[in-house]
Amino acid sequence: MSYNYIELITLILLAIGCFFILSGSLGLIKLPDVFSRIHAAGLIDTLGSGFIVLALIIYSGFSLLSLKLMLIPIFLIFTSPVTGHAIALFAHESGYKPKGKNKK
């Protein structure tokens, strides 16, 4: 019986993660410029991957494998801001102006 509960929790968490990835992908298409699209990519990186890995950890049970799975979001958390920042800085330095009102 407890097995079913675990499957149910996994399913819910996977659905939440997929929803965040869907929203991020929608944002990638829908948002107006480079800077705004980085936000959508950040949504996929943090919340989408986080929820899916959490679901996988619960599904696989707590073992050495779940520790390895936990390393994935840790690496993503350290690397994804760097890539986002690199893209934003390059767009800024090459004179790309963000759309919308700027109070600078």
Binding site: S23, G27, D33, H39, A40, G42, T46, L47, H85, A88
Partner: protein
């Protein structure tokens, strides 16, 4: 006395770094045989020597003081990511975004703290650090609410307190 204290702190940080590296090796391999553990110690020593040579073990890059506070900070950070993630998702779906540039002032004292703050801003969905000019960040926010959340300075205070 002060010098002696600094030296012992340095030794302690070396030991901590060694333990972290070995635990990392063990998580990735999962072997418990004596020979393989010995090889693990050798590879950890090699990485240790390389990071010592690259001067990656200065006090600034391995701050022992904050290691105990890090888990609490991470829990707080996950909460923030979740909150602003939901705001960003709602913004994407209903289309009421108004992107804007703001400047934020950082009050951290060392380089690690400033990098930490810039990374935390980028990690929370809806805000991206574009440029770091000494202690002033140029931040792109997806909506007015997100930029106002940032300008309340809560995140800045938490990360500054981390280093006390």
């Amino acid at each position: 006395m002060a010098k002696h204290n600094k030296d012992s702190l340095k030794t302690l940080s070396f030991i901590t770094y060694f333990i972290i590296l070995f635990v990392f090796w063990f998580i990735l391999s999962g072997y418990l045989k004596t020979l393989l553990l010995f090889f693990g110690v050798i590879s950890v020593l090699f990485v240790f020597w390389m990071s010592y040579r690259a001067k990656a073990l200065e006090e600034d890059s391995l701050p022992l003081k904050i290691i105990l506070r890090l888990p609490f900070y991470w829990i707080w950070l996950f909460k923030e990511i979740f909150k602003s993630g939901i705001t960003t998702t709602v913004l994407i779906w209903n289309g009421k975004y108004s992107p804007q540039l703001i400047t934020v002032k950082a009050s951290q004292k060392n380089r690690t703290g400033i990098a930490n703050y810039a990374n935390a801003i980028t990690l929370t969905p809806g805000t991206v650090t574009i440029e770091v000019d000494k202690k002033i960040f140029l931040v792109h926010a997806l909506s007015k609410k997100l930029s106002e959340d940032l300008q309340t300075d809560d995140m800045n205070k938490v990360i500054t307190d981390l280093d006390k």
